[in-house]
Point group: C2
Chain length 209, copies 2
């Protein structure tokens, strides 16, 4: 009972990236083999090593493609509110969460959040270093703005709370939890609900006395 063909349009590289995102989300990085992946993409087995060099490089490229856009969008949204006197915690959280939400309008974009959560679970040092080096500055900018809005918290306390918010966020956005979308609610509306709950929850967790 193998996966069906996922994509039949676009260049070979794009077809591979699309199929990789789906299969990595479903079966994990180790669990999805290059044979399943290339079959689903409708390309030859050797195409992955030809275009990406190795499976590991393909994994990095799957992340790079989405995270470049996602983080640029997050930083742009943050820049619109950062430092302003009337800015609230909700605004900053919105800047962080909304771009991830918009990703799910794209085909398979919503699956990427699940891939990201898998990367957290894998304790693979290479992957974690890659994510930290390439996208750590985003987290640092958001942390700085949280620090400005929560001056009553010392650094360790702030880091603890952000860490816990990150956990809840990763969990919820990747759809790991028990909350399942009802059949009478559209995917779009469901993710909107998720975002609203998430933001209210995070505000309470960050700013409690």
């Amino acid at each position: 009972m193998d996966a069906l063909l996922v994509n039949s349009s676009g260049s070979t590289k794009e077809r591979i990236l699309g199929a990789a995102e789906v299969l990595f989300a479903q079966r994990g990085f180790d669990g999805a083999s290059l044979r399943q992946l290339t079959t689903a993409a409708g390309v030859n087995l050797a195409a992955v090593n030809y275009h990406f060099g190795s499976k590991e490089k393909l994994v990095e490229e799957v992340f790079r493609r989405r995270l470049d856009a996602l983080n640029a969008s997050r930083l742009a949204a943050l820049a619109r509110v950062a430092g302003a006197p009337e800015t609230t915690l909700e605004d900053v959280l919105e800047a962080y969460i909304r771009p991830a939400l918009d990703l799910s309008h794209d085909d398979n974009g919503s699956l990427f959040m699940r891939v990201l959560a898998r990367a957290f679970a894998e304790h693979d040092d290479t992957l974690r270093r890659f994510l930290s080096e390439n996208y750590g500055h985003v987290m640092r900018q958001f942390t700085a703005e949280f620090a400005r809005l929560l001056p009553q918290l010392d650094k360790p306390e702030l880091y603890w709370r952000i860490d816990l918010v990150t956990g809840a966020l990763t969990h919820a956005m990747s759809g790991f939890g028990m909350i399942q979308r009802k059949s009478d609610v559209s995917e779009r509306a469901h993710r909107e609900q998720t975002a609203q709950h998430l933001i209210r929850f995070a505000v309470a967790g960050l700013s409690h006395p």
Copy 2:
């Protein structure tokens, strides 16, 4: 650079279970091979299939061994406070979190939380059904007590909040986050700190207006 020998005492079954817990936490269920595992345990390769039947059954046994004790302890702690008029949210959260904390006094017990978090990330249906069927009743009892203490929340709202708390909890207890134990803080003290932050955070997230 393979793993060292993990355990040299106890029965073959116990040595396998101990090594499995360590390696599953480090490399995942797929990532840890039976050869690494049996070498670390100091037993023969065939011993896993002889004693457990298959690798999959071994995975289940790793869960069963810890979760039986963990959940019994959780339910006992819950029973001590459930239904009482003076019981607070903190008490119930304490009943849920403290037993997980005590697990880490055991050798490798703290690693089990990481194994559990991996199981969440794996979307493997067999494993998820196993966990749900065997231990779902624990979550149901805690949810009922939360419902009693938070009568102002309707069911969907309560479920959302518990789901988000679970995410933060899994994230923090398994040590996935950026918060790392400082070298001048004992493992015991660090986990105690984690629990305190977790409980205050969860209370705020559950009971906010």
